[in-house]
């Protein structure tokens, strides 16, 4: 009898055991508050390292419902700051809709601490396809801005970066998983869009380039656009061909870029870069005519060639490689030390740019 009782007791305990493990269980949606973006700044008011800011969406059924709440906390690590912030809100913080991570520029210089991006990947609730960006003047300012055209908190940035709304060639969006990949992949360096707060609007037209450690270089809007020809082959833009009084603007409709490394058995290794642009003339400072299209194309070619070359040389000078020339070299060479060879090659390599601009017509006006 006592044996049975023991057995029953064990069974009973086994049945009870799971209930002790289950913790708080599933929480209803009205007991959760959704974080839409996260910002990381250097701390100002204490000896802690960082200031972590969360932007929380406040659900609200009005026509314009981009109401939000900003909470911030300083801490030496993000996790620490977030735990303290949990005590500041009445509901459970839910990160599953946090689609934007903004770093202050100062965090990335001279070197970003690895845990600042690994934390987001390590946690299960962050999406791998959250966007990452640099915030100016600070990450918190970016989170705090409430643009007039926005309907849901942070939605305007999601629309710009996701290219669901406005499509701009000045925006190079970067996802979290790709950002992390570029840190570890030899020969492919990270890049981040820069979100600047200008009064009441966002200005996203620059890109920050990093090496494996931190921020090295910031490109101007024009250089960003040219880089984007290579990164996304993003065509929706206008290219101004500057040539004194003979300047004109091409509305770009198609971009095709390609590069080839010419490094084998050559005294002077070079990278052959081909860029093919298609479009029509949209604006000109002088009278243009459909008859002289070939002549304009020639002007455009020489101009584009120089612009592209300048950008590529600028990247090379700063020792960053966001386009993955190094990875291309590694993927085409079988030697074990191909990466070391490339590290020697890259600072001295030349760029030979071939531009092929095709102008279809001068628009509706002859």
């Amino acid at each position: 009898m006592s044996h049975y009782r023991k057995l029953l007791g064990v069974l009973f305990i086994l049945l009870l055991l799971p209930t002790t493990l289950s913790g708080c269980g599933f929480k209803d949606i009205d007991k959760r508050i959704f974080v839409v973006s996260v910002g990381v700044d250097p701390a100002k008011n204490s000896d802690k390292k960082f200031l972590v800011t969360l932007k929380l969406a406040i659900p609200n059924v009005q026509e314009v419902s981009n109401e939000f709440l900003i909470i911030a906390e300083e801490g030496d690590t993000i996790a620490e700051a977030v735990r303290i912030m949990k005590a500041k809100v009445d509901k459970e913080l839910d990160f599953s809709h946090a689609k934007l991570i903004v770093y202050n520029e100062k965090i990335l210089k001279p070197e970003i601490e690895k845990n600042l991006y690994y934390w987001f990947i390590r946690r299960r609730d962050f999406q791998e396809m959250s966007w990452v960006a640099i915030g100016k003047p600070s990450a918190q300012e970016v989170l705090k801005l409430k643009p007039k055209s926005e309907r849901l908190p942070s939605n305007s940035l999601f629309l710009i970066l996701g290219k669901d709304g406005s499509e701009s060639a000045y925006v190079i969006a970067e996802f979290l998983f790709d950002f992390k990949k570029r840190f570890s992949e030899k020969g492919l360096d990270p890049l981040l869009p820069i979100i600047e707060v200008k009064k009441n609007i966002f200005e996203i037209d620059k890109v920050g380039l990093l090496d494996k450690k931190g921020l090295k270089l910031q490109l101007s809007p024009k250089e960003t656009m040219i880089l984007n020809f290579f990164v996304n082959e993003e065509p929706k833009t206008a290219l101004k061909i500057e040539n004194g009084e003979q300047s004109f603007v091409i509305d770009i409709q198609g971009v095709k870029t390609n590069y080839k490394l010419m490094t084998d058995s050559l005294k002077q290794p070079y990278i052959k870069v081909d860029i093919k642009l298609q479009g029509r003339i949209e604006e000109a400072l002088f009278d243009v005519s459909n008859k002289n299209l070939r002549q304009y194309e020639k002007m455009a070619n020489t101009f584009t060639k120089k612009q592209v070359r300048d950008v590529l040389v600028k990247l090379q000078k700063s020792k960053v490689d966001p386009l993955g020339f190094g990875l291309r070299y590694r993927s085409r060479h079988f030697e074990k030390d191909d990466w070391e060879t490339w590290e020697r090659l890259y600072p001295e390599i030349k760029f030979k740019v071939n531009a092929d601009v095709q102008i279809k017509d001068t628009g509706l006006v002859e």
Partner: protein, 359 residues
């Protein structure tokens, strides 16, 4: 391809699909600079060779499973030893995919729900399915594959056409192809082919000889599966960084975006599809284990024995889920994957010589 031959194809394809869940890509990725490609090719040759041998053996006994074949003439202790041994092995096979998937659900969907409850939810369904007659399990497998494979194919194509799939990273791994193949990756990669082993019970449904066109199909499909399941994560997460992820495929699915679908994150679609695939995979394995054990005792209709057996299966899996919390499920599955390879070779060679001579 025609007629009942397709049942064999389903069994093989099922394992190709589950490989993503039970850490096969993760372990293969560890060897990406270290003989991966040659190992995968070698595994293909070995896998298809074993598959062919096994079908030759079972073609001699059309419509009979191992329990029925052994009944024809084998002394009893040996018969019991063989059946119990294989049954245990199939049980472990099912258990490992089940625990692996429960771990994923626990980590990603709801960490607050205990693993035991997740397991119990699965066991309720499994308890119903594995008792079904072999034919009905096969029907269920057919239906689930037909419903899920198109969507899984969609996820694979979505990944393959992603802008963030860097082909240079993939080629970088390919440039390391000329390294000597290693035993571990060969053993692990051959898992993709080992679905044929379920034939030891499912041969009851195979009345015709398997045509060689099936092997040609399997050869191409398996090469495609093996290479995509390893190289897509490498392309998405980089040749130097991909090994940091415990679940390369979950991360890859989470890196895909469907901006115009009701759910933007592909990972949830992926997990939902794989609930079905895991469930049917475990059902098939445990059904084999169950049927083999049933072959041990004489009275086939004995309900008490069946119930005891089920209780034993379920009790053991609950115990495992409780204990595995303190170990590394991924390590256990690696040891199992390698052990499976050798057991498979020994078993097939044993079948080949033994089943011919005896009967």
């Amino acid at each position: 391809m025609v007629g009942k031959n397709r049942y064999f194809l389903y069994l093989v394809i099922l394992n190709m699909l589950t490989n993503v869940i039970i850490f096969v890509p993760k372990y293969l990725i560890q060897y990406r600079f270290d003989g991966l490609i040659l190992s995968m090719l070698l595994a293909t040759v070995i896998g298809i060779g074993l598959m062919y041998l096994d079908t030759i053996v079972y073609a001699r006994f059309p419509g009979q499973g191992l329990p029925e074949i052994l009944d024809l003439g084998l002394n009893k202790p040996l018969k019991i030893f063989v059946l119990v041994g294989f049954s245990f092995f199939w049980f472990i096979a099912g258990l490992i995919s089940l625990l692996g998937y429960i771990d994923i659900l626990h980590r990603i969907i709801n960490p607050e729900l205990s693993k035991v409850w997740l397991l119990v939810a699965f066991l309720v369904v499994l308890g119903f399915v594995i008792q079904l007659p072999t034919r009905k399990v096969m029907y269920l497998l057919e239906i689930i594959l037909l419903l899920n494979v198109p969507f899984i194919g969609f996820v694979f194509i979505k990944a393959l056409t992603s802008d963030y799939l860097n082909w240079d990273s993939i080629f970088e791994v390919v440039t390391h192809a000329a390294t000597v193949p290693k035993l571990n990756p060969v053993a692990i990669a051959s898992y993709v082919f080992s679905g044929y082993a379920n034939i030891i019970v499912f041969n009851r449904l195979l009345k015709e000889k398997i045509k060689s066109i099936n092997f040609v199909i399997i050869f191409f499909v398996s090469l495609l599966t093996l290479f995509t399941s390893v190289f897509i994560p490498i392309g998405m997460h980089g040749s130097d960084g991909v090994q940091e992820y415990i679940y390369p495929w979950i991360m890859t699915a989470d890196s895909l975006r469907l901006p115009y679908s009701p759910v933007e994150r592909v990972v949830f679609l992926f997990l939902m599809l794989y609930i079905n695939i895991t469930l049917i995979s475990v059902s098939v394995h445990w059904h084999v284990a169950f049927e083999l054990m049933k072959g041990v005792y004489k009275s086939k209709k004995s309900k008490t024995n069946n119930r005891l057996l089920m209780a034993f299966f379920f009790g053991l899996s609950i115990l495992a889920v409780l204990r595995f919390d303190f170990m590394h499920p991924e390590l256990i599955s690696m040891y199992w994957l390698i052990a499976r390879f050798f057991v498979e070779i020994i078993a097939i060679i044993g079948f080949f010589f033994f089943l011919r001579r005896k009967i």
